[in-house]
Point group: C2
Chain length 341, copies 2
């Protein structure tokens, strides 16, 4: 049978309370006593039962998720995943509240972070805007002993314990290789599209994309980046114009959201061979477009995985326990028509 606190108390010749104090690193134990207990723990190979401990503590993990009130499909999916996790959480001694903040609003995000801190939750997860004020606010939470995790978009130089999101430079490079190789010898320029170059993830994707194109497909002309503000209408308009301006357009890489507009423009595109298209995020629209051969590949980050991972990391941080590193690496999923889930 696995040894329990009782066994180690007996073995060390002390009471349960003392064992508990040593186990939890609380003060008020004479060094000699502490050593006896530690020796017993070592000797019996004791590992504490976290479930029992949490039960005794009456612990309820309390986490706050702060998400941008952005209306694109990806953010909707992310919110749905947080919601689902919150519901499951009831079964597992976890209270998870979700708060919306206006998108791309630094002041609002800072306020939300400070606000979240006031309730003294065990952990906070949020989609970062990469700004010094936000970094400072995140660090204030860490200062209070609250575990902080960034979600989808990271915050450089901050003391957040973890980033639950993909490597966007690698994603951009992957898109570049896919697009370059799918194009093969087909002539014509390539159009990069983003939501906004102010957002770190889009910027990094284009950076990765650009470097691969320069390294491996140097002959290919790259048009200037168009910014569609993650808005389907705006994006659609920009693409339509580009298709007219460049009848020989060979490829499109859409690093941002608003792909419904891109897809509509492609459908309307009409005559000629359509360009090779790689986009981000598997949504209803991009999924259908892939199935109908309107686009060629979708890079995706799994919102469900990101949310579950953020929760696991926050829990582990609260318990001071370890995570399985490999499980918390968010993959860059590549979907072709053939491996749609």
């Amino acid at each position: 049978m696995k040894p329990t606190v009782h066994d180690i108390a007996a073995h060390a010749g002390v009471s349960l309370a003392t064992v508990d104090r040593v186990l939890n690193g609380r003060a008020g134990v004479r060094p000699a006593t502490r050593e006896k207990v530690e020796a017993a723990i070592e000797a019996l190979g004791f590992v504490r039962d976290v479930a029992a401990a949490n039960l005794a503590k009456g612990r309820v993990y309390s986490f706050v998720f702060i998400l941008p009130a952005n209306d694109n499909s990806f953010m909707q999916a992310l919110r749905a995943e947080v919601q689902a996790a919150a519901e499951r959480g009831r079964r597992e001694r976890m209270s998870l509240v979700m708060r919306d903040v206006p998108a791309f609003d630094i002041a609002a995000l800072v306020a939300a972070l400070d606000d979240a801190g006031r309730d003294r939750p065990d952990g906070v997860a949020f989609v970062a805007i990469d700004a010094p004020e936000v970094r400072a606010a995140a660090d204030r939470l860490v200062e209070q002993g609250i575990a902080v995790v960034t979600l989808v978009s990271d915050l450089s130089g901050s003391r957040r314990v973890h980033f639950a999101g993909i490597d966007n430079i690698a994603a951009g490079r992957t898109a570049g290789t896919l697009l370059g190789r799918f194009l093969g010898g087909r002539p014509g320029p390539v159009l990069p599209l983003a939501g906004s170059l102010m957002v770190r993830d889009h910027r990094e994707r284009l950076e990765g994309f650009g470097s691969v194109m320069a390294e491996r497909f140097a002959a290919r002309a790259i048009l200037p980046v168009l910014e569609g503000r993650d808005d389907p209408v705006e994006t659609g308009r920009l693409v339509q114009e580009a298709l007219l301006a460049h009848p020989d357009l060979a490829g499109i890489y859409s690093a941002g959201a608003g792909n419904r507009g891109l897809i509509r423009a492609l459908q309307a595109g009409g005559s000629g061979v359509r360009p090779v298209v790689i986009v981000h995020e598997l949504t209803g629209a991009t999924r259908d477009a892939l199935a109908q051969d309107l686009i060629d590949g979708v890079l995706n980050q799994d919102a469900g995985h990101e949310v579950r991972s953020a929760i696991r990391v926050l829990k582990a941080e609260t318990d001071r326990s370890a995570v399985v590193a490999a499980q918390e690496r968010i993959r860059i999923d590549i979907f072709l028509k053939d491996n749609l889930p």
Copy 2:
């Protein structure tokens, strides 16, 4: 505060024991009483605390993993993941034992399954060989009330509760599209490679591969499948011969293991442009080959994910609780040089 068994006992005007009997569907409760309790559960929105229940039961989940004593990198990785999970399990009231059986040996696998059943574990996970005898043995376990999960390779028509592995037909199709598109207009035939056509996963991969080639790249000549028995030496020899016999060989799809041999043959290949190569399973060898531009893409199944998923499903089955379906779908990971983990 979340309602507990005490609350519902009070609300229903019965004792804890009766509540427990109803909760666990045990006999010996008058229908009228049962209904009172069920009404209280409903009214208070009670959800049982599984951790507390397991503590009280002194439950230790007991699972057996049966893996082929196959020496390729993938199986080694799989065994390492099971080992790691077993170690973590000590912390989480789980006893996980791993048993080896000779690879591709139906009788040995059947014996191992029957043997596992004798210890009456809560669940068994194993890499299936798709044969009627194995199916019967698996069903015998299910009959005993043991949860059964197949791992990596599935068992058609059996009563296993879950398959923790990838969709191999889709994987083959994906490989086909990648290879076909990477080839573009480059002339020359394509060589499919497998470990053995007796194994279901390899067969399915080639099936998917073949259908995509026929549908979308009909002009491309496909050479007869070569079987390398998942052995590096044998596979290397076959590829070397093929390279000599077909100097214009344009592509290779390796659906099985033994890729070290393939890679060596490619390195030796020397003169001319090397074929476009897509293989399965990210190992040390395939990873290096990808980084060095010796091969073009790796399809992968995440052994760690498969093992963790199998465990989650077995646990859920034992507890009669639900899983997050999306979390248990094993992805077909696609790795290019640019998104290596």
